[in-house]
């Protein structure tokens, strides 16, 4: 039955989910904008963040909410290392440059999925009792699941922090300058590799933060990244590939569209709406709704 209540209810949870999607996608958009490279292992970054959160809970009983900064920090290091060890060299390719860039991170994604299967087994895992898991709050008659609510708040906080960081700090300005003109930065004496490594670290940390929260209410398995990576691609495509705040808006749209689709179509078709929006954008505005490039 479609009542006003159910509609408002699902729009509200769609909005929460959308804010999380934005957080998942923003790292991808950041790297896109910074150096015009797609991280095809973005979903796998999310996957290891979720596992990390899971193991910290399972072995040390640290609640995902507490371990989230830890997970983000670990992912930061991981992202920077991936740039320094792989992507940096992929960008120097002389022959088949496009293919090299694509298949380097794509290959990394496959390795990470394989390693997860090998060491963690393909089993589905979940965090049974966390502070937030399974709880809901009621706001004006609308029930909101606590994990998603906290996730949405974290996402808003992260985007606010990112905004301040990009606009108020020297390094953030350097990041922005590199986006606009890599040559100019070299002139000012900023090491391009350091900026890029930091960009990858930051991108990974953001998706790590998202992973830590999602571990509370999502099953954790080796392929979990794939479906979220797809959503992240759609989100950045909507938001205009390199735009950080386009990812924020894109995420919200994806979340709302998904919620509305779930209202009118059977659950197995809940992604149809997102894909339809994606195709529409590719047809009409290949640069994305908020893309300025």
């Amino acid at each position: 039955m479609l009542t006003v209540e159910t509609i408002v209810q699902s729009l509200a949870s769609g909005l929460l989910m959308g804010l999380l999607y934005g957080l998942i996608a923003v790292g991808l958009a950041l790297i896109f904008g910074l150096m015009d490279v797609t991280n095809f292992a973005h979903g796998e970054f999310l996957m290891i963040a979720m596992y990390l959160s899971f193991f910290l809970f399972a072995f040390f009983a640290i609640d995902p909410l507490l371990s989230a900064p830890l997970v983000a920090a670990a992912l930061f290091v991981f992202g920077a290392v991936v740039y320094l060890l792989l992507v940096r060299f992929a960008m120097r390719a002389k022959a088949n440059a496009g293919m090299v860039q694509i298949f380097t991170t794509f290959g990394l994604a496959i390795v990470m999925r394989g390693l997860a299967q090998y060491f963690f087994t393909p089993d589905y895992r979940s965090i049974p009792q966390s502070w937030l898991g399974g709880k809901t709050v009621s706001i004006g008659g609308i029930f909101l699941p606590e994990p998603q609510l906290v996730g949405a708040l974290v996402s808003i906080a992260a985007f606010a922090g990112l905004y301040l960081f990009i606009h108020r700090t020297d390094f953030g300005r350097a990041l922005e300058a590199t986006r606009e003109d890599p040559g100019a930065v070299a002139l000012v004496g900023i090491d391009k590799n350091r900026v890029f490594a930091f960009g990858w670290g930051l991108g990974a940390a953001l998706v790590g933060l998202a992973g830590a929260i999602m571990a509370v209410f999502f099953y954790i398995y080796p392929d979990v990244g794939a479906s979220f990576a797809l959503i992240a691609y759609v989100t950045v495509a909507l938001g205009g590939f390199g735009s950080v705040f386009g990812a924020f808006a894109g995420g919200i749209i994806v979340g709302l569209v998904e919620a509305v689709t779930a209202l009118v179509l059977p659950p197995s078709l809940k992604s149809v709406g997102i894909y339809a929006v994606y195709l529409l954008v590719v047809f009409i505005r290949p640069r994305g709704l908020f893309g300025s490039m």
């Binding site: 290959g107 390795v111 794939a226 290949p286």
Partner: protein
């Protein structure tokens, strides 16, 4: 100089003929069904990768969604066969045509996208195809289609007792894909594709119809891959969305070409000859494909080849680079 060129093309053709002849004789010696199976899959993936290479290697439009065309070939053939009694041979052509048309229809919006934007679009579109077939009741939805066994016959392209006929078909498919590539390599299309891949702006200024070059490459590539899908459906005699349209097919079409040499004539064959047996051996040693070892091997190979040998393994065989094109 022209003589050199003609001689090189003739040499390629002779090598191919010799290899095909040797391959054609193997069933006389290889009676083990498991090994036969590996050989069939190797030939099939060599042919598929060769077809993938036309769009992604020569024309430079890297697709990670070719599983869509593979699945469309399989589904078209089997739906026509089980619902309307159309023989698989016609189904094969129908599947190829449907796929080529869909590839061109998708090309219309997608070919405006460059580089990784295009790659993402191909991944998404294959996922959409998978989703639709999962929910399409008439086409068996998630349950898929079991192909009714009507006895061994070339007419119905069905063989339960021996795998050898499938082997020969896979061999022919691989040879056709190779020959098409060989022929196109020295044609206007072949030159246009490589020009579009290397520098679309310069190509445009030389009168190349960039958009239609891509469309042509997509159509040929999708047609051949769909024929491969039809073959696979008959070969395994049961299809469902995951087993013919899953992402692993997109992966296994791209990998041999990347490994052997993307955009080269021999790359896909060489890559498949190494990769597919390796996959099967790993599966045998480590059990099931769920262990992840196969993925670790694939991924490591892709990363290493991309970074260390971007022209693929065939570049190890090419003469010193000052004397001519890498082949």
């Amino acid at each position: 100089m022209d003589k050199n060129f003609a001689a090189r093309r003739r040499r390629d053709l002779i090598i191919a003929a010799v290899l095909a002849a040797i391959a054609a004789l193997t069933p006389l010696f290889v009676k083990d069904v498991v090994v036969q199976n590996v050989l069939i899959l190797t030939l099939m993936y060599a042919g598929l990768s060769q077809s993938w290479n036309i769009l992604s290697g020569y024309c430079g439009q890297i697709s990670l969604g070719h599983a869509l065309y593979f699945g469309l070939g399989a589904y078209t053939t089997e739906l026509l066969f089980t619902k309307f009694g159309v023989l698989p041979w016609f189904g094969m052509l129908a599947g190829g045509t449907v796929s080529a048309l869909i590839a061109m229809g998708l090309g219309y919006p997608f070919f405006r996208l460059r580089g990784h934007y295009f790659v993402i679009a191909t991944i998404v579109i294959a996922e959409i195809g998978l989703l639709l077939f999962h929910n399409w009741e008439w086409a068996g939805a998630a349950m898929g289609i079991t192909i009714p066994i009507r006895g061994d016959s070339w007419l119905k392209f069905q063989f339960a007792r021996s795998k050898v006929p499938y082997f020969y078909f896979a061999l022919v498919l691989c040879c056709i894909a190779w020959l098409v590539t060989w022929w196109l390599e020295d044609s206007k299309w072949g030159f246009w594709w490589r020009a579009v891949k290397d520098n679309p702006d310069a190509a445009e200024s030389l009168g190349v119809d960039v958009f239609n070059s891509k469309m042509g490459a997509a159509a040929v590539s999708a047609f051949l891959v769909a024929v491969g899908g039809s073959f696979y459906a008959q070969f395994v005699s049961y299809i469902d969305p995951e087993s013919v349209m899953g992402f692993q097919f997109s992966l296994l079409m791209a990998l041999p070409a990347v490994l052997g040499g993307i955009g080269t004539l021999w790359g896909p064959v060489l890559g498949a000859a190494i990769l597919i047996p390796l996959t099967e051996i790993t599966r045998f040693k480590f059990g099931g494909s769920g262990s992840g070892v196969d993925l670790i091997i694939y991924g490591t190979l892709i990363v290493l080849i991309s970074l260390a040998l971007p022209r693929g393994l065939v570049s190890l065989f090419s003469r010193p680079k000052k004397t001519g094109a890498t082949r």
